[in-house]
Every structure is written in C-alpha cells, then in structure tokens.
C-alpha cells in the first residue's frame, strides 16, 4: 500500500502555510503527525493533490503557561502532554488522558492539533478540550477567529474548520475555583486502542463544598464527543455519590449511541453511565481534597 502521488510543500512559517492553504484549499491536506492521515493515504481513502507539511513550522510547536492558562501550539506532540510539567500543573486532565492516546509511537509523532482537527469520535483529546472549556485559534490567510471546543466539533470527523483554515493553537483556561478536580475513565479493548466509550469531567466546589462548575463529556459512544447537558444540574448542589451516579445515568440517556463490530448501542449506553459516574466521582473527590 502506497499513497497516490502528491505535490509536497514544507513551509517554515504560519503565514507561508496559510498562503499555501489559501491557494490549494480543497485539494490540499495539512500534514501534522500523520498518524491518521498517512494510513488513509496509504490505503488511498484520501488522495490529496497537495500535502502541506506543518512539521517545520516551529511557531506551532510551543507550550506556554501564564496566569494558570495553558497555550498549546497545534503541532505540540501528544507525548508532551505526558512529559511537560506545565501541562500537569495547568490542565492535569490532559496529562492523565494522554497515555491512553494510541501507542508510544503514535504519541511521539501525533500532534494535539492533528487529533482535534481529525475529530475521531473515539479520540480522547476532543472530549477533554470540551470539558476544559478550551478555545481554539483558527487562522486563514483572510482572517483569524476563536472557536470554543464545544462549537468546534460538528460530528463524525467533522469540524468548524473551513477548507482554508488552520487550527493554530489551543488555549486552556484555568479552573474557575480554587477547589477544582478532574476525572477520566474509558474502556478500550487493549491499551492504546480507541475507546469503546469514555467520559471525562471537571468540577469545582466552593469553600462550603457546593458545586459551582460542572462539565461532563462522553466520547466514543456516538458521532462525536457529547457535552452532557444534565451536568449543569449539579451546580448549586453537594456532589454526593448518589447524585453523581444519577448525573452519569442522565448523561448516558442523552447520547445517541452507535452499534458496531465491537459493541452494541445498549452496551455503550450502560457503560457510558458507569464511566460518567466514575469520572464525576473522581473529579469530586479531587476537588474535595484540593
């Protein structure tokens, strides 16, 4: 299996990359880590006439933390989430989810922006970014705009990116309260496989132990990461185990679970309820201990 011929460009700057993308638009593919794109090219499921390789755009590969906010260049490798202390400090959910993204070799090459722009419904990072209220910076030769993670993912392998737009950077805000905690749980056939179902949560409590901020996202179950609407009902309440289990069940009831070779829709819904509760309980325990 070898890819069809393509013209290759390796820009050095974001501007150069955007200019190339503006000129070649629909017939071009941006190449980041290549861990999803190149398999599809090898199998000729994708045959771009032009490949714009971002790997030499140094400006896209930086990690920066200021005032509790984390700024990730789109080309930061996934393994940096496991290794970089600034990520663990500002967004521990990302550090915890990272070892579950693919395999060692995938994470060494695969990028954060690549995973987000690819928008596989079973991928960990899109769900985590929604749970963390991340903001994505999208750039084209025409303009630049900010898009919330929640509005970015439109469905199966589908995002808000226009054909001439590049996901340039990701901004992860700090948690809104002192006592904050996160939780993450997934089920996969083998370590590193795409999740059959997963859930992640972020909670913050006030000094009295009352929930002031709640995010719950279920992924792998449907066409994309699902931000659970029922999580909002936790705000103003004390997160008891029973209450969190109920929120998990409510979340699972919201999803449009798919059936495939690996699991039935019913299995996914049932497991989603359990994993969502587990992620919430983990988040609550951490917030209480913080």
């Amino acid at each position: 299996m070898r890819p069809a011929p393509f013209e290759y460009f390796a820009p050095r700057t974001v501007e150069e990359a955007l200019d190339l993308l503006g000129r070649h638009g629909d017939e071009a593919k941006l190449l980041a880590g290549g861990q999803s794109l190149v398999p599809m090219m090898n199998m000729r499921l994708v045959r771009p006439a032009v490949v714009i390789d971002l790997n030499r755009v140094a400006a896209l590969g930086t990690v920066r933390a200021d005032a509790g906010r984390l700024h990730l260049g789109a080309l930061v490798r996934q393994h940096a989430l496991e290794r970089d202390g600034r990520v663990a400090a500002a967004a521990p959910l990302l550090a915890e989810a990272a070892p579950l993204i693919g395999h060692l070799q995938t994470r060494a090459r695969g990028t954060i922006g690549g995973s987000l722009a690819h928008a596989d419904p079973a991928a960990e990072l899109p769900a985590c970014m929604i749970a963390l209220d991340a903001v994505f910076h999208l750039r084209s030769a025409r303009a630049q705009r900010a898009c919330s993670a929640r509005d970015f993912f439109l469905g199966l392998l589908s995002t808000a990116l226009e054909p001439d737009e590049l996901l340039a950077g990701i901004e992860v805000p700090g948690m809104p309260a002192v006592r904050a905690g996160h939780g993450f749980a997934e089920v996969a056939r083998r370590h590193g496989d795409f999740a059959l179902v997963g859930a992640c949560a972020a909670l913050a409590l006030d000094a009295g132990g009352v929930c002031r901020h709640a995010r719950l996202v279920i992924f792998g179950a449907g066409d994309g990461p699902h931000p659970v609407r029922a999580a909002a009902a936790l705000i103003g309440e004390r997160p008891s185990a029973a209450r969190l289990a109920e929120a998990g069940r409510a979340g699972a009831a919201e999803i449009d679970a798919r059936a495939d070779l690996h699991a039935t829709a019913e299995y996914r819904r049932r497991v989603a309820a359990g994993l969502a509760a587990r992620a919430l309980q983990q988040a609550a325990a951490r917030a209480e201990a913080a």
């Binding site: 299996m1 069809a4 290759y8 790997n55 070892p99 395999h103 070799q105 995938t106 090459r109």
Partner: protein, 169 residues
C-alpha cells in the same frame, strides 16, 4: 513514474545510524521504503503498512516512529536509527538484543526490529519499568508467534542489566 504532479524530487540528508546518507526522493516515498529499498537497511520490516503493527518502528531524532507513516522527505536533517545500528561497531549484540536471545523472545523474528527500537527508546526514559508498564509500552507492536511472555521477560532483564551497568539511573 512519468513527470507530473508529485514527481518532483526532493533532497534528503539524514544521519542514519551515525553516518550521513543522502537521497533524492519523490514526496510519496515512505521512510520505510527509503531505508529498505534505497539504503539497503532491510532490518526494518513492513507489516501492515498503515500504522497498526509497529514492525517498522525506527527512531527519528530519538523518538520511536512508525516508518510507514512518515514520508522520506520529512526526515531531511534528522537523525534516524534503525535496528542495524543497535549493536554499534563492536562484535557483540546490544544488551537488549542479548536479552532477547537468552530469553528466546522471538520466533519468526519479523516483529523483533520494531519491538527492539520501541524498547530502546522506552527504557532510556523509563529505566525501572514494571511488567505492566512494559506491556503498555509494547501495546503498539504486534507479535503473532510468541504470546509476548518472553518479550516482556527480555525487556525486564534488559532494564535490570541497564540499571546494573549505570547504577545512577
């Protein structure tokens, strides 16, 4: 291939197993094919050709990388290490290879180069792994003969030998 889009050649210069190598490649040439077909380094094996089996793992700038998912043109200016370079110039084997031999950690050997390169990179960062951690590190490498038991044992042996050789680690 006749001249057309995608037939323009690009210069590649890389440090491969410590020595500089050059090539002129079309963009769609995979790193694995450059290593095997043009540079004769056939120790790197191609299994699935879409990033699932890990057999073609090499190190690019020290990081374990599936050479079926990287285009040759992308390694211009990089350091590439393959299984041929593991033992160095000496007559003996690399300690990890030695552990594989003494533990019978291979049968047909097809997956072995990829597993060795993955483990070399992993053990460098994690000198004292548990058995579970080794299994996780190898989750991206498929072996169809051994059932992994001996591979994991060999990796644990090699880690212990590495710690003994460098007590500070």
């Amino acid at each position: 291939m006749t001249a057309g889009p995608g037939s323009a050649r690009h210069d590649v210069t890389a440090i491969v197993n410590g020595a500089e190598r050059r090539a002129r490649v079309i963009p769609r040439l995979l790193l694995a094919d450059l290593l095997r077909e043009e540079w004769g380094l056939t120790g790197t094996h191609l299994g699935c050709e879409h990033g699932a089996c890990g057999a073609c793992t090499v190190l690019v700038d020290g990081e374990p990388t599936r050479s079926c998912l990287v285009f040759a043109v992308q390694v211009d200016g990089c350091r590439v290490d393959t299984v041929e370079g593991l033992a160095g110039a000496g007559p003996g084997l690399h300690p990890l290879q030695e552990a594989f031999r003494s533990r019978h950690a291979l049968q047909c050997g097809f997956c072995t180069p990829g597993i060795l390169m993955t483990l070399v990179a992993y053990l460098r960062l994690h000198p004292s792994p548990s058995e579970t951690e080794i299994r996780e590190a190898l989750s991206g490498n498929l072996c169809r003969c051994t059932g992994y038991q001996h591979i994991v044992q060999a990796a644990l042996d090699a880690a212990a030998a590495g710690r003994a050789a460098a007590p500070s680690a």
